[in-house]
């Protein structure tokens, strides 16, 4: 299915990534191609991963609120703060009720899971006296969207998607629908995930992790997990122009296709179908979703073999890890280098495969 997108602009970008907070550290890291993996602190899990070690919410999240937030919500808050600043919007300071016209769509694979572990671990050990009423509200995947609504005074529609590796793309699609239907003027799209011990434990137990070195496309050795958040502000070109804001990029197309079965062939056909649905694309830049796990890498490899004319893809998950925004990393990478047409393909181990086309990506906005 192709979602017709004619005039939607991305006017704000906010990034919390393992390479640092903000656009410039991400741009430099992507350009250098330096993976961000290291041994994790025990509080996040045993093994290697890409943690947001330099994440700094000071001055952005008030200390009283910080204590109440789970890791994905903290990342999302800071990324959203950056995106609003980048777009020149101050929703809470706006006295005209603009917050009622601002939507939030969040994609997350691990949202709520870190809190669920933190809640259930003492409960299973000590019974009801171990249960914390402060932790439980963060056990829902949509905790981040609620915190963002409170933090920024957002009162429009809200949805949280949990479609594995492509949850942020599902969120993007919903945001586009709200804008197109006139249910919101501005949509904040977030991808956010946080590392936590049980996640590492499960992935290691399921033999999904690269145990030897950094993940590499086509290696078949497995992936390494990451964390972080990416925030994107979407609005119509006219709305942006009326505010005097120049877009970072135009979202020209967004397509998804699901596989009817569970084989690699089924999934590869679905990803190719999603890319094909965007029309005769001749991208001058490519972002892909390979992560070192054969299941996803094979889909990207097959796509590249069918389109030898396309430029070689950059695969951000091999730098920043899987789960680090549930697909938001790919959209972020697409916005970190100027290009006329950037094609993003987003393979997933299940559910819908996505492809997106961005036009007129400009890193500098002058």
């Amino acid at each position: 299915m192709t979602l017709p997108v004619s005039d939607l602009a991305i006017t704000g970008l906010g990034l919390v990534l393992p390479c640092g907070d903000g656009i410039e550290p991400a741009r430099q890291n992507l350009a250098s191609g330096t993976p961000c993996f290291a041994e994790l602190p025990a509080s996040l899990g045993l093994g290697r991963g890409a943690a947001c070690a330099s994440f700094n919410p000071v001055g952005i999240i008030p200390p009283m609120q910080l204590r109440r937030l789970d890791r994905p919500s903290r990342f999302a808050w800071v990324a959203a703060h950056q995106a609003f600043e980048d777009a020149g919007l101050d929703p809470k300071g706006d006295a005209t009720g603009a917050g009622e016209r601002m939507a939030v769509a969040v994609g997350t694979l691990t949202g709520g899971s870190e809190a669920s572990e933190a809640f259930m671990r003492p409960y299973l050990q000590r019974g009801p006296e171990g249960a914390s009423p402060l932790v439980f509200p963060n056990c829902v995947a949509n905790a981040a969207s609620g915190h963002l609504a409170l933090a920024f005074g957002l009162k429009g529609p809200s949805a949280t998607f949990v479609d594995r590796e492509n949850a942020a793309f599902a969120a993007l699609e919903q945001a586009v629908r709200w804008l197109r239907a006139g249910l919101a003027d501005v949509a904040l799209v977030i991808g956010t995930d946080g590392l936590f011990p049980l996640l590492l434990d499960v992935c290691r137990g399921a033999r999904m992790l690269d145990r030897h070195t950094n993940p590499e496309m086509g290696s078949g050795r497995g992936f390494l997990p990451g964390e972080g958040a990416q925030a994107f502000l979407l609005e119509s070109r006219e709305h942006a122009a009326a505010r005097g804001v120049k877009p970072r990029a135009m979202l020209r197309g967004l397509a998804s296709q699901s596989s009817p079965g569970i084989t690699g062939d089924d999934r590869a056909r679905a990803l190719a179908g999603a890319a094909l649905a965007l029309g005769a694309v001749s991208p001058d830049r490519r972002i892909g979703g390979a992560n070192g796990l054969s299941r996803l890498d094979d889909m990207e490899a097959r796509l590249a073999a069918v389109h030898p004319d396309w430029p070689a893809a950059i695969h951000p998950k091999c730098l920043w890890g899987e789960f680090g925004g549930s697909g938001g990393q790919l959209l972020a990478a697409a916005l970190l280098e100027s290009a006329d047409r950037t094609l993003v393909t987003a393979p997933a181990s299940s559910g819908a495969q996505f492809a997106a086309l961005l036009e007129g990506v400009r890193l500098e906005r002058t």
Partner: protein, 393 residues
Amino acid sequence: MNHRVVVTGLGIVSSLALDREGTWSAMLTGKDGLGPLTRLALPLEPGQMAGQVAMDPARHQTLCERMALRALDEALDGLQVTGDPSRIGVFQGAGTSGLPVAEAYLEERLAGRRGRAVETAFQSPSTVTDALGRRLGATGPRGTIMNACSSSLLALGQAWEHLAQGELDLAVAGGAESLCRTTYAGFSCLKAVDPQKCRPFSRDRAGLNLGEGAVQLVLETLDGAKARGAVIYSEVLGYGASMDAHHPTAPHPEGEGAARAMAMALRTGHLDASEVDLVSAHGTATPANDGAECLAIRRALGTAAASVSVTSTKSQFGHTLGAAGAFGAAAAILALRDQVVSPTLRLEDPDPICDLDCTPREAKERRIRTALVNAFAFGGNNLSLAFRQWEGR
């Protein structure tokens, strides 16, 4: 929106019965599906009352997935889905989903055992969505929403959006929820669980009971449904969505955000408040929700609120969290079909703040042209979906 959207299939797996008509007839005769919780081992929790379904998980298949597939089969009612598979979508609201599997894994690990890591890794919330998609052979869009208690109502809204835009021919939407320790312990520690049977809109309401079950709807464009001679239950008119931006768990005390969601549903559905005859309410029986919701209904419908019937399915099934919106929708759709409102059970002494016709004790026959379905969630997330009686036009 360019296309009218209708409901052509409805499947229900509930704590009252494992099928639609069994559930509906039990609701109308005043039965509830609440009883002592036996599925979970929670020895230290006080009085445990829940809406428990007479099904169990199977090996490699969660209870959510089993219930969802059963509800889908009933909703399809023998329909062999043909046509372009890329124009068939699946949209699901998820709540606990694979959480019981993760709980079991954590418990094993705490006990120093290995646990089933592979099964846990692949039990994500979208697993049910994929299972339904495979059953249908669908290659169209899929969405798995986790908006806590409003998840499945937004899934219905998503299906409506796709169909109304002409992007799909058919969609399956709904939700499934199974009881698990995390949610029981969570609501219990928030002091939100009533150890007795819950009493929505009552003066002495003391909290919710948790429940489980699944509801699946088949939605089609009106043209497609007519072309194949489908039985049409009702028409979906549109939805409204909003956030309170008020509190992480408590609703806005005056229902400000909820009222905006309902008003938006009226606008997208091109409805006047005076056309609304039924509100299938969120009605959790928590002290904070029910009063705020009644205020929101008054705010959204104005003077028309005085003649509207309100009902809460929580009194029959408990709070089915991720599936709750779909349960509310099912009650509204069947009420529109049969022109009868299912009762709010145990409503003997209404709270003065809930001064609407909340359909106490007994089902009520009445003219029902349109219905709003409400679902509100943690994070101040509000949804309202509008349905219209199908009169053959």
